[in-house]
Symmetry: C2
DNA sequence: CGACATGTTGAACCTCATCAACCGACGTGG
DNA sequence: CCACGTCGGTTGATGAGGTTCAACATGTCG
């Protein structure tokens, strides 16, 4: 089971994401041996703020949200994890955020100490861990720009751009670029709102607005097409992306 | 000159910050040899967004702001660097943010390749690089909570708490904890505003408000005392801190 | 079918941005 | 030495964008 999941890494361009991109076959096999699948129901807590955990994990399917909570209960989503993303922090003390299943979630859990030991024996893997942490840091700062400087419309458009970009990357470049970009809304309005630092009603209104303007078109309840990606990128306050 | 600066690391509890905490004396000496002091005037650009740089650096004195800019010119400060902090990202491609001197700044610059080579030869240093990147990531997420969920008053109070915490840490614990916490406002209102994602006027108003309420008391133009730290922490939307 | 969650839409309110006037400190040049 | 312009900071008035509260629609599951 977990073997099938992990070897999947090798078949997909996704390998350039996450930790496994630099793993030697041997290291990969080693990680494989200490991996255990785990299931979480929607809303279930995976990691609790400031409570040490003895594992790290890889998302196999579903969406995991990372949250920070204020004493009075207000909550900010500080990260969304998609399949193949990494959950938890190796070599850190206790995590300063919670991780919660934003949908039905399948994880592959690895014992932390064991994982760290493998990493210590594989410099390339450690290097990759550093690089992917730097990438997370970049993403966090990009989100700081969004949270601190963008309007509600720009925030929603930016979030949709993120989904489009993900969807295109996930296609692994094996086929021609899709002429009509498509994305899936993987979480509910409340979670989108929590990620963007706005209210759920505002998200709803902005999405309605984008629909009315023909920037996005509904396919089914969770899927949309984007007829003109540059228009969406413009609304997101970004330069039109180059899809190399 | 730079020798005096770097050895200073060894004399101060600050060693637990930044990269040098895990550096062996030999590695430190090695870094020392490739370090060169550099001066920047207020407002001067140190690193430009998306332009590769061939150095990383340590802040010796002054404040460096990390900024991200939108195509239309709006700017968000995504990090403030204080003395002993690290500038730039080793092992990353081009940086996705700019670094600018927010005051007169003294840096010690190190050639990037040379630095990376030293790190590659010192696993402990690389480990420390990873850990301090994880800490930066935590700080960035803490700031996402602030930007996305806090009111203007909470934002300003949080920023002042940050300064107080820094000021206490900087005292290196060698003396008894100061009975009256003191902090210095190291940057102008516009930069505080850019960091907090509010307007400069709002920052000014909130600080005036805190002064009027006696939460903070002016010493001189740039220094304040905090008679009751718990009150400030409360306004910041934080649990009262434990000063272990 | 009813109960409950999720999403949409409307209306009132409120926080904060914006614009503008003003103040004090500082540096420059007459 | 003082007048002046500039810059950073403060304070006030006004308005827009977004939150909040509430009603309603839609979909799902027992």
């Amino acid at each position: 089971m977990q073997h099938a999941d992990l070897t999947h890494f090798e078949n997909c361009a996704i390998r350039h994401r996450g930790l496994c991109s630099a793993a030697s076959p041997e290291a990969l096999a080693e990680l494989n041996r200490i991996a255990h699948p785990h299931h979480y129901a929607t809303g279930q807590t995976i990691i609790s703020e400031d409570v040490p955990v003895d594992f790290i994990a890889n998302v196999v399917s579903g969406i995991v949200k990372l949250t920070k909570t204020m004493p009075d209960g207000r909550q900010q989503i500080v990260g969304l994890l998609f399949p193949f993303d990494f959950v938890g922090q190796a070599f850190a003390g206790s995590t300063s955020f919670s991780a919660e299943a934003a949908s039905e979630v399948e994880l592959v859990r690895l014992n932390r100490k064991a994982f760290e030991a493998v990493v210590d024996r594989n410099p390339d893997l450690k290097q990759q861990l550093l690089v992917s942490t730097l990438n997370e840091l970049d993403a966090a700062r990009e989100w700081m720009l969004l949270l601190g400087s963008k309007s509600a419309e720009e925030k929603v458009a930016s979030f949709l751009m993120l989904l489009v970009r993900r969807s295109i990357n996930m296609s692994c470049g094996q086929e021609a670029q899709p002429v009509n970009p498509v994305f899936e809304l993987p979480v509910n309005r409340a979670d989108i709102a929590g990620y963007l630092g706005v209210s759920a009603e505002t998200v709803s209104r902005q999405i309605s607005h984008l629909k009315a303007d023909g920037i996005i078109k509904l396919i089914d309840i969770r899927h949309y097409t984007v007829p003109d990606l540059n228009r969406l990128a413009g609304l997101a306050g970004q330069e039109p992306p180059i899809w190399a």
